[in-house]
Symmetry: C2
Subunit: 96 residues, 2 copies
DNA sequence: TAATAATTATATTAAAAGCTTAAATGCATA
DNA sequence: TATGCATTTAAGCTTTTAATATAATTATTA
């Protein structure tokens, strides 16, 4: 277990450890969503969602595609998909 | 996905997201260790290790047993064991 | 050009995270 | 009981950075 692996993993965990960002990641498990979609489910402002998305983007966790003046976000890193699924299985028994 | 489940999970992630604490959890995967053992592997002071252990204890992630004037720490929560194993599998390919 | 979606820039506030140092506790043994 | 070792706790300090609000800006469409 190398120290730089530890460091890399803790950065990822840290970026996932904010309630809003974790919720965003859960929402993006099975679909892509626009910033506005996310803002509706996570109750906050557009700018705030955008700022949180930037943090996740800078970690390479999520990506986006542009369509008209909408930005659709999705999880790029398959490892993150699996990690979140494991977490839901472990910590959210009923899985909803 | 309930909001309080999200909150609970983000607290756990946050407590795991410090390099020293994550390293401690990795070290405790397959064995129990005293505070001094941990201090040797994570290079810092006794007091600092103790403080990090307290954070993990307060989340119910680790537990300890006392033997003479040594305190042996171990991971109590089996979910944490599985979560870390998943993370190592995903993010540390060579798995060492 | 007007309207909508999203980003960026800026600032502010708070807080809180992390570490160091030193003192205190607990246990064992001489 | 006195000493030494392992650990914890307390206090303080520094820094930083985290999170959000607000307002301005970009980009796209119509």
């Amino acid at each position: 277990m190398k120290d730089d692996q530890i460091d890399a993993m803790s950065k990822i965990l840290k970026s996932m450890s904010h309630p809003i960002r974790l919720k965003i990641l859960c929402l993006l498990q099975d679909k892509e969503l626009s910033v506005g979609d996310i803002r509706d489910q996570v109750e906050t402002t557009n700018a705030n969602v955008s700022q949180h998305l930037n943090i996740l983007r800078s970690q390479g966790i999520i990506d986006y595609r542009k369509d008209a003046n909408f930005i659709y976000n999705r999880i790029t890193d398959k490892r993150i998909l699996e990690l979140i699924q494991t977490m839901r299985k472990l910590f959210c028994p009923t899985f909803d």
